[in-house]
Symmetry: C2
Subunit: 392 residues, 2 copies
């Protein structure tokens, strides 16, 4: 018996454990202090009424013999895939129902889609970025090449003609930097991928936060993307589904490598290793696309984006370099006074009782940077910002 020894090469992530420990120690020493958390990537608003009603109706259906549903389609119910196709239509993107796969979350899809590719592929991953891209490829033993994000490119690395990547991760709006690629920038990536036969894995989990109509919310808004890109999307941040679990992945029929349609491979993967998403959840997800659901999403996103604006305005006022915060729920800032990420973490925690996330948790280029999120309560965000400005 041989274990998968790639697992032993994974770096332990102490980031969130270290944060929890530092916050715990501080609170134990200062029980009277009101510590505000602006570090979380989780949503705080409850589910919207249209979703709650749809979930409740589906629960009732499951309790009656006439309306009970057992195994569903591996790729998701047609009613939900149709709604997703409609959503793409509003973005002027034509997607066929058979190209849409519903799952219990974008994270699973991001990890599981790698099953379609040989271990012998070079992977291009931005630094800094969501750590799951790196870890899932280490687990498979793939070689990873990093694309450097930095102040100079506003954390939007562009293709390097001298680097051959086979699998390319693009996260836009980016987690943690909040940076969003323009159409012209994405076009350069699509051209690079098509020229080299690479595949782009486009993580669009934060697409609903893009407000600027000039910025792309789907890679399929870029000409040529259907022959090189898979797009992965989520209901988590848009509709508050972090605890409900639903996402979807688009794999165009036009995306062919070594003579095989990736769509067919993914269908085979999902039908062999997955048994579909809860009917109840899928009815909830369908309601996200109803008129009332869309209205609720607009309000929820608006609420979080007002938080983002408050934080971003404070950074402007303080003269702190930052990106994100405008078409993204994340504000990525350069630690003032040349502090390291952890020095700034301690400065905020001890000085003003605000918790954020040190940038180096997202890659080496995150050193000296810091992530604040807009997913908190607006009054807490205002109070946190007041304290940060006052302390300055």
């Amino acid at each position: 018996m041989k274990i998968n020894r790639n697992y032993l090469r994974l770096e332990d992530s102490y980031l969130f454990a270290s944060i929890a420990q530092k916050v715990g120690e501080y609170k134990a020493a200062h029980p009277e202090k009101d510590v505000i958390r602006l570090g979380i990537g989780d949503v705080t608003l409850p589910l919207g009424a249209p979703v709650v009603e749809a979930l409740g109706r589906a629960v009732k259906e499951m309790g009656e013999a006439e309306t009970f549903r057992g195994y569903g389609d591996y790729e998701g119910y047609a009613f939900l895939r149709k709604a997703i196709v409609g959503y793409y239509g509003e973005k002027n993107v034509r997607v066929d129902e058979s190209e849409v796969f519903v799952s219990e979350g974008a994270k699973s899809d991001i990890a599981n889609i790698l099953d379609l590719f040989d271990a012998d592929n070079k992977v291009l991953i931005p630094d800094p970025v969501y750590p799951v891209y790196v870890d899932t490829n280490v687990m498979a033993g793939r070689e990873i090449l990093y694309m450097n994000g930095h102040e100079g490119n506003r954390f939007l690395p562009m293709p390097d003609a001298d680097t051959q990547g086979d699998i390319i991760y693009i996260c836009s709006p980016n987690n943690p930097t909040g940076a969003v690629y323009s159409k012209a920038q994405l076009k350069a990536w699509v051209d690079y991928a098509n020229e080299r036969g690479a595949v782009i894995l486009f993580d669009a989990a934060y697409e609903a936060f893009v407000n600027d109509p000039e910025l792309p919310t789907s890679i399929y808004q870029i000409e040529g993307a259907a022959t090189c890109a898979v797009e992965i999307c989520s209901f988590s941040k848009t509709a508050g589904f972090t605890g409900v679990r639903c996402g979807y992945t688009v794999v165009p029929h036009a995306l062919i490598r070594e003579g095989a349609e990736l769509n067919s491979l993914w269908l085979r993967r999902q039908s062999t290793k997955f048994n579909g998403v809860s009917y109840i959840t899928q009815r909830g997800a369908e309601a996200v696309f109803s008129q009332a659901g869309r209205q609720w999403v607009r309000e929820a996103v608006g609420y979080y984006m007002e938080n983002a604006r408050i934080i971003a305005d404070a950074m402007e006022e303080l003269g702190v370099w930052y990106c994100g915060g405008k078409n993204s729920p994340y504000i990525w800032l350069k630690c003032p006074k040349a502090m390291s990420s952890w020095e700034y973490f301690d400065y905020l925690l001890n000085g003003v009782n605000v918790v954020g996330t040190p940038g180096e948790g997202f890659g080496k280029n995150g050193a000296g940077f810091f992530r604040l999120t807009a997913f908190g309560d607006v009054n807490q965000v205002k109070e946190a910002v007041r304290r940060i400005k006052e302390k300055n």
Copy 2:
């Protein structure tokens, strides 16, 4: 870009597509006929009231700011893991909460657990069996050795000292044969695995159908299993969760290979590639273990087992060789008059308008055998049996 070429080595499964086509053609030609399906592996009873109530309460909680829950634990909420530990306690099995991992279904776990093992392991798979074991290992390029099930061993193959298996699949009660290993037989497998450092993947999806108190319902009822076995279980057939999606996997801390705790590797796998199960679903699963939930499960299992008894009695009466049907919802019979699986399929469909599943869909040793399931409506089962006996 290299795709995973192992996918191209997968055999296309036409079994259920062929069945659907034949049934469709028959119904088109004979629209007046009442075709009864005894081929499905899906449940037909709706969810029980205790589960429906728990799901409904959880939906309401998710709609209120005070009780909303975002991301949960990767390994499942403590309330559910505690209930599962209690269920094992009733089987006289001691499992720690940290050894229990909740997932959105046993099928996913059966597939995903393979991520912990190198491609260079030999896999022992019974024939006939649930086809997912074979396909998931073909996808990873592993060498597969088959353990032959046949009339002689009543489809319960035993270890062969001359065969070195590294990963061993045991499904008991077996799908499709309904055969259940005795404690002595499982002990032989546990000893074989411990002696050779192999790992048993024990699929216990049908454990709730075991009625005979002498038969094991968990591999951990066998001494030594904690150092060699992972157990995978499901709420699908027990509590009617095929459309709700929830299962769980037990990975004992004592299970160590090449110096690594498989429990740690699995936690790392799940925390990296998975984001937990819906809070709503987990509250529903918790209710399965309540007093009312347990009572409902007993009644549902009793209902299906009455169907199984009706079918098994008919086979006895007709002098047809079969196994299963007593501690399992599956009846696995030898096609009468030396018919092939498909000949018997046609005979039943055309002759008495009953649909079952040809055994060869589960492996080459299934040729000449046939699966009937107990998951139908009791009146339909009675009618099907009446027709089969009459036609004889």
